[in-house]
Amino acid sequence: MSEKNKSDMLRAPFKLEYDYERSTGPIIGKFFEGLSNQQILGTKNGDNVYVPAAEFDPITYEHLSEFVELPETGTVKSFTWIDQPRKHHLINKPFAFALIQIDGATSSILHMITNCNESDIEVGSRVKVSWSEEKTETIKDISHFELINE
């Protein structure tokens, strides 16, 4: 038996996959629906406004149901630059993963910033949503964010 055949004996293909279906519920569901209409919706609890919309207040655990619409602009709170995207990334040119605080929100959303150089971004940079052509009622309805000059 060849060396190759010996090693094949020790392997067997094992493909495990299943398409799950997620119920988003009334709060996250409405947030996604808003994205498909090019709206940024947050949930409000006193002085706190959560984007992405939170179903439960992360501090007080209360049910949240009051929505507010926020602008498409925000501020970079933190980022990391991806110079050589891999095939599983959603953007196939250099981009940044960033935490972005939408104007009027008190929490940050994780998304991507592209069409710029690494040296163009800093904490505090101003960004604006770039909407996707195709609407799927998912987070992908935001294609990415882009830097803006104000």
Binding site: F14, S23, E55, F56, P58, Y61
Partner: protein
């Protein structure tokens, strides 16, 4: 050991698809109901214990992390429990142990399954490269044990139909129950197609979405109010396919039952326990567990089913709420048994209350009949 009692039981409406809520919303529905029942606020909760069956059931890895806000665990100790189908029972025991240990005054515990987001049979029977894919699921796995029970004790085939009809008749009195089948009777069960010999379609549990939560406390909150005091609780385990193992009457189940009876000072469970909620996902498991839990001698279980002892108006009512045969959100199913036992001794089981119940048992099993969790609760400390 410090005395502990259930002071709140909360459930969701069980259904095949609760598409109206997220996983967090589903879990929170049970928690809100339990905290309302217990009349406590978040300030009273010292720790949160979450249980559910395999993560592959919903495809959410470590749900205790993403659910931290929904279950009010932020800033508090949180623990996740997993022991397959028995998890609702073992989670209840572990939560209660957090109180009896003296480490916490009041613990919130919650279990759930949202089966509509996936397919439990797929998750339980993946295609492995080294064996033919049988896609059997739980029913196919347990059917041979039921056939062996029937063979050993020469039980008549209608016993399974009696259990299936009886539990669904009880479910008609429980607004939370998933299956509500008007006019259900033995004949309707017997006329359904055979799934896995000897099990017919209506002798099997449904797939349900749902959650169940309990608030468990010591005397600080439980004294002087309606409470289900825990008189004995235990968990036991066995290997999956070890030689000499008797899956029809597992040693782990026998030992677990003996342990809780000893703790509770029960010498004759059939006479002393007023009613029990036991984990019967397939009809034949009622007589099998009656024997395993020492309610009767070997071979006598099916006779208790046949002569009506286990009916709601019988001497030992079993699964008054409709049981797993009527609602099966897998991860929560054990805790529902434990919570329903508590409701019986709190005399709050409404339409399916057993008159004057003072001592009730909750039971769950899981895996390949290898994990067991049980408790006995009473209306007095």
């Amino acid at each position: 050991m410090i005395d502990a009692a259930v002071i709140g039981v909360g459930q969701t409406k069980y259904d095949s698809k609760r598409r109206d809520v997220s996983v967090g919303g589903l879990v929170r529905e049970a928690i809100d109901n339990a905290m309302k029942h217990a009349n406590v606020d978040w300030d009273a909760i010292d720790a949160v214990i979450l249980g559910k069956a395999p993560d592959m059931f919903e495809g959410i890895m470590m749900p205790e992390l993403s659910l931290a806000d929904a279950i009010g665990a932020v800033g508090k100790p949180v623990l996740r429990v997993h022991t397959a189908g028995s998890v609702g029972g073992s989670t209840s025991v572990i939560a209660a142990t957090h109180v009896t240990s003296g480490n916490f005054d009041t613990v919130l515990t919650v279990t759930f399954e949202k089966q509509s987001e996936s397919n439990a049979t797929w998750a339980l029977s993946p295609k492995y490269p080294y064996s033919p894919h049988i896609n059997a699921g739980a029913g196919g796995y347990f059917a041979p044990y039921m056939r062996e029970y029937i063979r050993r004790y020469n039980a008549p085939e209608n016993i399974g139909w009696i259990v299936a009809a009886k539990d669904r008749q009880n479910a008609l009195k429980n607004p939370y129950a998933h299956l509500q089948i008007p006019n259900i009777d033995e004949k309707m069960v017997a006329d359904t197609p055979m799934l896995w010999e000897p099990l017919r379609y209506l002798e099997s549990c449904p797939s349900s979405d749902g959650a169940c939560a309990l608030v468990i406390s010591n005397e600080k909150l439980a004294k002087g109010r309606k409470a289900a005091w825990i008189k004995g609780m235990a968990v036991r385990s066995e290997g999956t396919l070890s030689a000499g193992r008797d899956e029809v009457n597992p040693q782990g189940g026998q030992d677990c039952a003996s342990d809780i009876y000893k703790q509770a000072g029960i010498l004759n469970p059939k006479d002393e326990i007023d009613c029990a909620e036991i984990y019967v996902p397939f009809s034949w498991y009622e007589p099998m567990w009656l024997e395993n839990l020492h309610f009767c001698d070997l071979g006598e279980g099916w006779k208790l089913t046949e002569n009506g002892t286990t009916a709601l108006d019988g001497d030992l009512p079993i699964n008054m709420s409709g049981g797993v045969l009527s609602s099966n959100p897998i991860g929560a199913s054990g805790m529902i048994r434990f919570g329903e036992a508590a409701l019986q001794v709190m005399h709050q089981a409404n339409e399916y209350q057993v008159d004057g119940a003072k001592l009730a048992m909750g039971h769950a099993y899981g895996g390949a009949s290898q994990f067991f969790a049980m408790w006995v609760v009473g209306n007095e400390r």
